[in-house]
């Protein structure tokens, strides 16, 4: 068999698998919505605010509720001292917890 036939077959198989990967991802969307239902129900009924990803510290368990002094919140590049910091990036500046601008007029 010619080398080019083998090579083109290999790339053809890889491309077919690539298309299958895209189709598989698309097909999983329906299942994803179904699987998400029980989580969404818990979030709604308990008023949950965070995903349970890292349980090692308060500010990694509940990043949205963390103190302003937690890692990454002192300044944008203040790196975390826990290993999960290798996967979690600092929030964009200004911090998501920056004080809100008062929407009502301040009385003198």
């Amino acid at each position: 068999m010619r080398k080019s036939t083998l090579c083109l077959s290999l790339i053809g198989v890889q491309s077919a698998l690539f298309v299958a990967m895209l189709l598989h991802a698309r097909a999983q969307e329906g299942r994803a919505a179904q699987q998400r239902q029980s989580s969404a129900a818990l979030v709604r009924s308990l008023g949950l605010t965070d995903l349970c990803l890292f349980t090692e510290a308060r500010y990694t368990r509940h990043p949205a509720m963390a103190d302003r002094h937690a890692a990454f919140q002192d300044h944008p590049m203040g790196l975390d001292h826990f290993p999960s910091g290798s996967l979690v990036a600092p929030p964009t500046f200004p911090s998501p917890h920056a004080p809100l601008r008062p929407a009502v007029p301040q009385h003198p």
Partner: protein
């Protein structure tokens, strides 16, 4: 077969023979190339999937959570403030939330204890997340003991929360509000924070400002901020991983650049011979284009496919150590595929095109010189 196709096939045959002549070197290149694409694609898939889960699930979170800050730290909040907040125009409901952290000295894990008003929860019973059940090695009907303020408290496990909800409930212990108060010695008039629901989300900043005006120690956290936090923290370009990755990618770029641009004397001679026997410059360029395309396309497709299997079939097991960190209780969740065509296209253009282009420039230079000079050089 048409002659033009036959011509391309012949050149591809020759390109493959040329690659096979330097088998070891090219195989190493494809392996490293695939590995680099695999790591970057895994990171992209992983982060995309988590971002989507956060987006889809946390949209159900309360419109606003109001915390009380004392000396810069989160402090329990008087439940009485809920009434004042409820009176603000635009507020639909205010629900005091009662929750806290419990460190289990036996298993060394941090758990989240939360109160629920669900009437299905029996007295002195708890519902636990899959992670809690796994780390404590308990199941429905078993008893667990928690160290409360006034001494050990015994609870019967009424339900283990479903596996599908592990992404939000792995470390949860749900119990009645009275039990939470006894466990943490929280007085009746205090709650951890307040969950606020507003009729019109556009009024939330105004409501937040009014809350801060009335209670200067309050810290309102809007749902949009919660969602923004998750959008911001899961950024594949961020974190220490990128520092480690960038050095690996840089080494690969140097390796690939050297391989692609540095023509050896043997290759120059080969180009000279090909030209002297009648090959045109365009044929020589096509030959190198095929060589570059075969290497980069194989590596790209292989790397992306391996990354997909790694993240969505093996739950990104290679990242497990970084994910686990120092936590004892580790949630196990099967991520659902979330592919972003834009990011796949960026990955393709950043990996396949530069390499293929880098192989063409030096060969173009070599192919445009006189065959005699090329063979003698």
């Amino acid at each position: 077969m048409r002659p033009s196709v036959q011509r391309y096939r012949n050149i591809l045959d020759f390109a493959l023979s040329s690659l096979l002549r330097r088998k070891g070197r090219n195989l190493a290149l494809i392996c490293v190339y695939t590995l680099v694409v695999f790591v970057i694609a895994s990171l992209i898939f992983f982060v995309q999937a988590l971002k989507r889960e956060a987006r889809e699930l946390l949209v159900q979170a309360p419109d606003m959570v109001v915390q009380r800050m004392v000396a810069g730290r989160h402090d329990p909040m008087p439940v009485a403030q809920a009434e004042t907040i409820r009176a603000i125009r635009g507020v639909e409901a205010v629900q005091p939330r009662l929750w806290g952290y419990y460190y289990d000295p036996v298993y060394g894990g941090n758990l989240t204890v939360m109160a629920t008003d669900d009437t299905a929860l029996a007295v002195e019973s708890v519902w636990v997340g899959q992670g809690v059940a796994r780390s404590m090695r308990v199941k429905e009907g078993d008893m667990i003991s928690l160290r409360g303020y006034a001494g050990p408290m015994l609870f019967s496990i009424q339900k283990v929360l479903p596996e599908e909800s592990e992404l939000v409930s792995s470390d949860l212990i749900l119990m009645s509000p009275q039990d939470v108060r006894s466990l943490f010695n929280l007085s009746e008039g205090l709650a951890t924070d307040l969950a606020v629901q507003a009729g019109n989300p556009r009024e939330l900043p105004t409501i937040a400002a009014k809350i801060v005006e009335q209670f200067p120690d309050a810290r309102p956290i809007l749902k949009s901020e919660i969602l923004r936090t998750y959008e911001a923290i899961f950024d594949w370009r961020g974190g220490l991983m990128v520092v480690v990755l960038s050095s690996a990618i840089l080494s690969f770029i140097i390796f690939a650049w050297d391989k692609a641009t540095g023509l050896s004397a043997e290759e120059r001679k080969e180009v000279g011979i090909l030209k002297s026997i009648g090959w045109e410059s365009a044929d020589v360029l096509l030959l190198k284009f095929w060589e570059g395309s075969v290497v980069s396309l194989t590596a790209f497709l292989g790397g992306v496919l391996l990354a997909y299997v790694h993240v969505f079939f093996f739950s990104a097991s290679l990242f497990e150590h970084a994910l686990k960190g120092w936590s004892v209780l580790f949630p196990r969740y099967r991520l659902l595929p979330a592919l972003d065509g834009y990011q796949l296209a960026v990955l393709f253009f950043l990996t396949v095109l530069p390499y293929t282009a880098a192989t063409l420039v030096p060969i173009w230079r070599a192919a445009t010189v006189d065959p005699d000079a090329a063979m003698r050089s």
